[in-house]
């Protein structure tokens, strides 16, 4: 009985892991980079300097709103998180305009001067790609991601049952032993970061909870719209008793609004401010805290923007929503400091390697058992080609995304879109190239291409900006230096892997001989 349970779990592990495997690789890869999305965003906007927001900058923001956005329905301010070089972003919807007419201005957080910043989707795209994919409707993408995540949970749990020797083999990693070393690499990356894998998969499903299971909210609230209305109540309004305002009241300065809101929070800082109906007696300011605490409150504070009177603090979430928030916080890791963020990143990298090594292991395990290894069947060849095309292709695509950020002309229309297209064009090119080449050569060449592309990123950065690796190191700018060093480390890892694959001598001869002997004996 025990043996059959293990066998059935092994079967489940193989297929629940393989079928969504390529999508899982993409989810893990982009999700891992998304832990550093703000830092990557900073690198992709080299015009910005890292600085805390000053009162002077906020005063200039006030003046800019009054001069250029009077009559707008709402104003909003995004404050830098402090993690990277970010702008103080002001935006507003002109009166009568829709969301697509929204105007946006980026200010230097130290001086408040307007900065011209290249158009780029930055680190935010990598984050969105992680669960919304690209070029297909968001809702389809989310269903696909949901199914993949469910399969991942099944694969993890069945994997634990299958590899019951994981504790006996806990520290074992053998290189240069063919199938054995692939299995070890898969086990080590899976087992060492197992708490992370379980947590990230489960909390990922919680983040997509209402895509997957809208019925609970539907049953309790009637519809999803009613649920969202209750979960995110609209800003309170000022019950104005006057028929017509005597005169347009003066709005409190932004710095005062921020100070009053932050006095309500224990240590949390304001990250987003929205002012509804600015310039009228009904103007209401909503201030949202950042997500710097695990499970920290995300309730806005509402103020009368003219008088500064408190209007409300949003509903305190119930136990269910508070639990969901902690889980989503755990998933996104926004609360983590630099140390913990690196641990998140390394665990994510282990997850990415786990998925990739699992996919490769599928082919390695079956190659020896093929009836004729020189002419494998269609399914085998499909898996083999998808492995190279997706693993190496998407990896190379990210490097090209960074290169495109530096190389595309600043004035190019739809520049941010073209950065993203570049990623997929490179991915497609590697995919096509790898189909046309013998398998082993395809791996070596695709990995070598990754190494070259990642090594090019810091070089192109040094040539196209003033913030190359050496000046960044001298200036102690760890966002830029860290990014460039991470690129070089990735290039080295790709180069090393390519070299390992190229110099590996397949040891299939003895095995074939024993099988021949067996066949003769039979």
């Amino acid at each position: 009985m025990k043996e059959t349970l293990r066998q059935s779990m092994a079967w489940l592990h193989t297929w629940a892991g393989l079928l969504p495997g390529w999508l899982l690789f993409v989810i893990f890869l982009f999700g891992t980079t998304a832990f550093f999305q703000i830092e990557i965003d900073g690198w992709m906007h080299p015009e910005l300097k890292r600085a805390p927001v000053t009162g002077q900058a906020l005063d200039r923001a006030d003046a800019l709103f009054r001069a250029r956005a009077s009559g707008a329905e709402s104003w909003s301010v995004s404050l830098p998180s402090g993690r990277s070089n970010e702008a103080l972003v002001l935006s507003w919807t002109p009166s009568g305009g829709g969301w697509e007419d929204r105007a946006e201005v980026k200010l230097d957080p130290a001086t408040g001067r307007e900065v011209a910043v290249r158009e780029s989707a930055g680190g935010f795209f990598l984050y969105r790609m992680h669960f919304d994919l690209h070029y297909l409707p968001v809702i389809w993408a989310r269903y696909l991601v949901c199914i993949a995540a469910l399969a991942m949970l099944v694969a993890i749990l069945s994997g634990i049952v299958t590899h019951k020797k994981i504790f006996a083999d806990f520290f074992m990693l053998r290189f240069g032993k063919g199938q054995r070393s692939w299995l070890d690499a898969h086990n080590v990356t899976a087992v060492l970061a197992l708490p992370f894998h379980l947590m990230i998969t489960y909390t990922g499903l919680v983040a997509l909870l209402f895509t997957l299971m809208p019925w609970g909210a539907n049953a309790s609230f009637g519809s999803m719209e009613a649920f969202y209305e209750k979960a995110f109540p609209p800003a309170p309004t000022i019950a104005s008793t006057r028929a017509s305002p005597p005169s347009a009241p003066r709005q409190l300065p932004l710095r005062e609004i921020i100070a009053r809101a932050e006095a309500n929070w224990a240590g949390q800082r304001a990250s987003y401010i929205s002012i509804e109906q600015p310039g009228t007696p009904d103007m209401v300011a909503g201030i949202w805290p950042g997500q710097e605490m695990l499970g920290g409150g995300r309730q806005p504070v509402y103020l009368n923007a003219a008088t500064g009177d408190m209007l409300g603090t949003g509903d305190k979430p119930g136990a269910a929503r508070a639990t969901q928030r902690v889980m989503i916080d755990l998933h996104a890791g926004r609360f983590s400091g630099a140390m913990l963020r690196w641990l998140y990143f390394l665990s994510g990298a282990a997850g990415t390697i786990m998925v990739a090594s699992g996919l490769v292991l599928w082919t390695v395990k079956r190659r020896a058992k093929l009836p004729d290894p020189s002419r494998p069947h269609v399914g085998f060849r499909l898996v083999e080609r998808l492995n190279i095309g997706v693993i190496a292709g998407s990896f190379a695509g990210i490097a090209v995304y960074f290169l495109a950020n530096r190389l595309l002309p600043v004035g190019l229309p739809h520049r941010a879109d073209w950065e993203i297209h570049s990623l997929f064009i490179a991915w497609g090119a590697i995919f096509t190239w790898s189909i046309a080449r013998p398998v082993k050569r395809a791996w070596v060449e695709a990995l070598a291409a990754c190494a070259v592309l990642y090594a090019l990123v810091p070089m192109v950065n040094a040539l196209t900006t003033q913030r190359g690796l050496v000046p960044s190191l001298i200036a102690g700018d760890w966002i830029f230096a860290g990014f460039d060093l991470a690129m070089l480390a990735t290039a080295a890892a790709c180069g090393f892997t390519a070299w390992k694959v190229a110099t590996r001598k397949p040891k299939t001869a003895p095995r074939r001989k024993t099988r021949e002997l067996e066949a003769m004996a039979a």
Binding site: F171, G295, V326, L346, A350
Partner: protein, 96 residues
């Protein structure tokens, strides 16, 4: 500082757990330890990990500390695996 303490304790914990396993004793110590010795190593390894958890929780808050503890345990175990992978090279340097 707290992070360093969690990491070093986890590292020591996993090193002890490694040495508590028969097959690794053969590799690293060239002999198998008696069952009592292995059990003592095993228990002290687990104790180190538990201590790391307590320090993480007390120093960083129990929620944040728990996340950091898992992260550092992964990092420490990975380092021990890397050391085990390069065993021959390390042993040659320690006792030529």
């Amino acid at each position: 500082m707290i992070h360093a303490a969690i990491f070093l304790l986890s590292l020591a914990g996993f090193a002890l757990l490694l040495l508590a396993m028969g097959r690794h004793q053969q590799d690293w110590l060239r002999r198998k330890l008696p069952a009592g010795g292995s059990r003592a190593l095993h228990l002290s390894g687990l104790l180190m990990l538990a201590l790391a958890f307590v320090i993480a929780g007390a120093g960083l808050g129990w929620g944040y500390g728990a996340v950091a503890w898992f992260g550092w345990m992964t990092a420490a175990a990975a380092l021990i695996v890397a050391a085990n992978l390069n065993r021959d090279r390390i042993l040659r340097r320690v006792r030529p």
